[in-house]
């Protein structure tokens, strides 16, 4: 890379101004690290997610969308909130769930219960997704996921069920017949995901 003589290029000087303005301190910038240490006392009360007052629910999911990693223990109320009649609440809840990662393992029974009670819609989609993120330790959800794969009227939920079974792997071997059926007769994406899941539950995944 050649050096530029200082002051001999007006455009370069202008570029310097712009990039001084934009410059950050580098990869080890710590300016915002305190955000990740948001005090736990700012966490919303679980009851707020189920409040009859929209503003309460909105504030709870808004906090979760801005601090998803702090809200893993709220995975179940957030999944329920994705079906909220208020579209802003539903959107922010989905936003939080997208980024919060795997839920606490202790929530698995509640998540299974969610998909047992409703296999359609956004809530089921997110409950299945959260189960899938747990990987092999979600094996106890195999029966519920298999039923969801076969019975849900909502294609994205069936697709996610196939995906979740693949993530569980060989511990979900009992889902093989349902996966085989989906692989043979499902719409293209479901068929592809079911084929991959079949390989996974049979221990043949790449």
């Amino acid at each position: 890379m050649k050096q530029v003589q200082a002051g001999n290029d007006v455009a370069t000087q202008a570029a310097n101004l712009l990039f001084d303005y934009l410059r950050v301190n580098g990869p080890h910038n710590q300016s915002f690290n305190h955000l990740s240490a948001t005090p736990m006392d700012r966490l919303p009360s679980p009851a707020l997610f189920a409040s009859a007052i929209i503003a309460d629910r909105l504030s709870a999911v808004e906090f979760a969308s801005q601090n998803p990693e702090l809200c893993r223990s709220f995975a179940v109320p957030l999944a329920i909130a994705t079906g909220d009649s208020n579209s802003s609440v539903a959107m922010l809840a989905a936003e939080a769930l997208e980024m919060l990662g795997a839920p606490a393992r202790s929530l698995l029974p509640e998540l299974i219960q969610l998909i047992e009670s409703s296999r359609d819609g956004e809530t089921a989609y997110w409950a299945v997704t959260l189960i899938g993120r747990l990987g092999p330790i979600a094996a106890p959800a195999t029966v519920a996921l298999t039923r969801t794969l076969s019975d849900s009227a909502y294609l994205p939920v069936r697709e996610r069920a196939a995906w979740a079974l693949a993530r569980i792997g060989t511990a979900a071997a009992s889902a093989a017949a349902a996966l085989s059926s989906a692989a043979d007769s499902g719409p293209p994406r479901l068929s592809r995901l079911a084929t991959q899941a079949l390989e996974s539950v049979r221990g043949m995944a790449a």
Binding site: F19, F32, A90
Partner: protein, 345 residues
């Protein structure tokens, strides 16, 4: 608009482009349209030791391209005057912004933002994708946007060059949005202006973690990159392709994208979320072909813009990532020219 996925013949593109570039450079040098001095100036570093927050001055011979996931950008955020004022201030630092996570069935949030950006007489405009996503609920789907300064950047006037990738097999949750642009020369410079194609994408975080060959969206994106490159090159002679957006992955886990020769993430290793804990957003380009990159790229630090952590969180959980380019075409890299300063005969 959706176009069929073109066939993959672009593996031949790299060498072909290099040869064309050498021929083009030779032609420009012989005809006196370009000098080696001007090439070295284009590649020169613009680093400076000082730091300030004075209003940005956009250089005449360089353009800045950014990617920005404006978390959940819908009517609610668009109705917040303070957040919108900050968003406008941030976006005005760039010539083109590839925006993700616009969640509205309408154009109003982006329209309002652009109106604010133009309050001082600027000439920003935008192009918006359709709503994209698998959800049955429209409110969960997203739009992409390209916002650009029409005084400095021109969107291709061929409407077939602005499209959402066709995805008949539903391999991606949110199919990429593609558009082609050309820098508008400022002043009297007669060099060929930089033209480029942007591929704007927001991956699904649950679909970038699996093994290769299991539907990983990053493998699909590698196909997208190769196919868009082949399509645009064969029809329009375009050789500069920039894939940018929220990939929900670090630069060490790019799967199929990492296998494309020369493809690099310009801010590799830098966290891009607002808390500064995760690397999610990228600007990827073929470093062999897109020599217009000036070696200047970074992640915006909200604190340097005097934005409080609370306001930053209200703006987005992501920070913009930007890269600077020459406003003029630069021939692709050729080792023979680089070592001798002269083309090999």
């Amino acid at each position: 608009m959706r176009l069929p996925l073109p066939f993959p013949f672009s593996k031949l593109l790299g060498p072909s482009t290099t040869i064309l570039g050498v021929l083009a450079l030779g032609y420009l040098l012989l005809t006196g349209r370009i000098s080696l001095d001007s090439i070295s100036t284009m590649f020169a570093s613009t680093q400076s030791a000082t730091s300030n927050v004075s209003p940005p001055v956009k250089p005449e011979n360089k353009i800045t391209i950014a990617t920005f996931n404006v978390q959940n950008f819908g009517e609610k955020k668009a109705g917040d005057d303070v957040v919108m004022a900050e968003l406008a201030r941030i976006c005005k630092m760039f010539d083109v912004i590839a925006m993700q996570e616009i969640r509205s069935p309408h154009a109003e949030p982006v329209q309002n933002l652009v109106k604010r950006m133009n309050a001082d007489g600027s000439l920003y405009t935008f192009v918006l994708s359709t709503q994209i996503g698998r959800s049955s609920s429209p409110s969960h789907r997203e739009q992409y946007a390209f916002i650009f300064d029409s005084a400095r950047i021109r969107l291709s006037d061929d409407p077939s060059r602005t499209y959402v990738m066709n995805d008949e097999l539903d391999r991606m949750h949110r199919e990429p949005f593609v558009a082609s642009f050309t820098a508008i020369p400022q002043g009297e410079d007669t060099r060929t202006p930089f033209s480029f194609t942007l591929i704007n994408v927001h991956t699904d975080p649950d679909e970038v973690t699996g093994e290769s060959g299991t539907g990983n969206e990053l493998d699909v994106l590698a196909d997208v990159y190769v196919n868009v490159r082949a399509w645009e090159y064969s029809r329009h002679g375009e050789d500069d392709f920039i894939l940018l957006g929220d990939l929900n992955t670090s630069s060490t886990k790019l799967f199929g994208l990492a296998k494309i020769p020369g493809l690099i993430s310009l801010t590799a290793g830098q966290p891009t979320n607002t808390p500064g804990s995760k690397e999610l957003d990228h600007i990827l380009l073929d470093s062999i072909t897109t020599r217009e990159f000036t070696e200047q790229a970074n992640v915006v630090d909200y604190s340097l813009l005097e934005i409080t952590p609370e306001m930053a969180a209200a703006i987005s959980d992501h920070r913009p990532v930007w890269a600077q380019f020459s406003a003029f075409e630069v021939p692709p890299y050729d080792p023979a020219i680089a070592s001798t300063g002269q083309p090999v005969r």
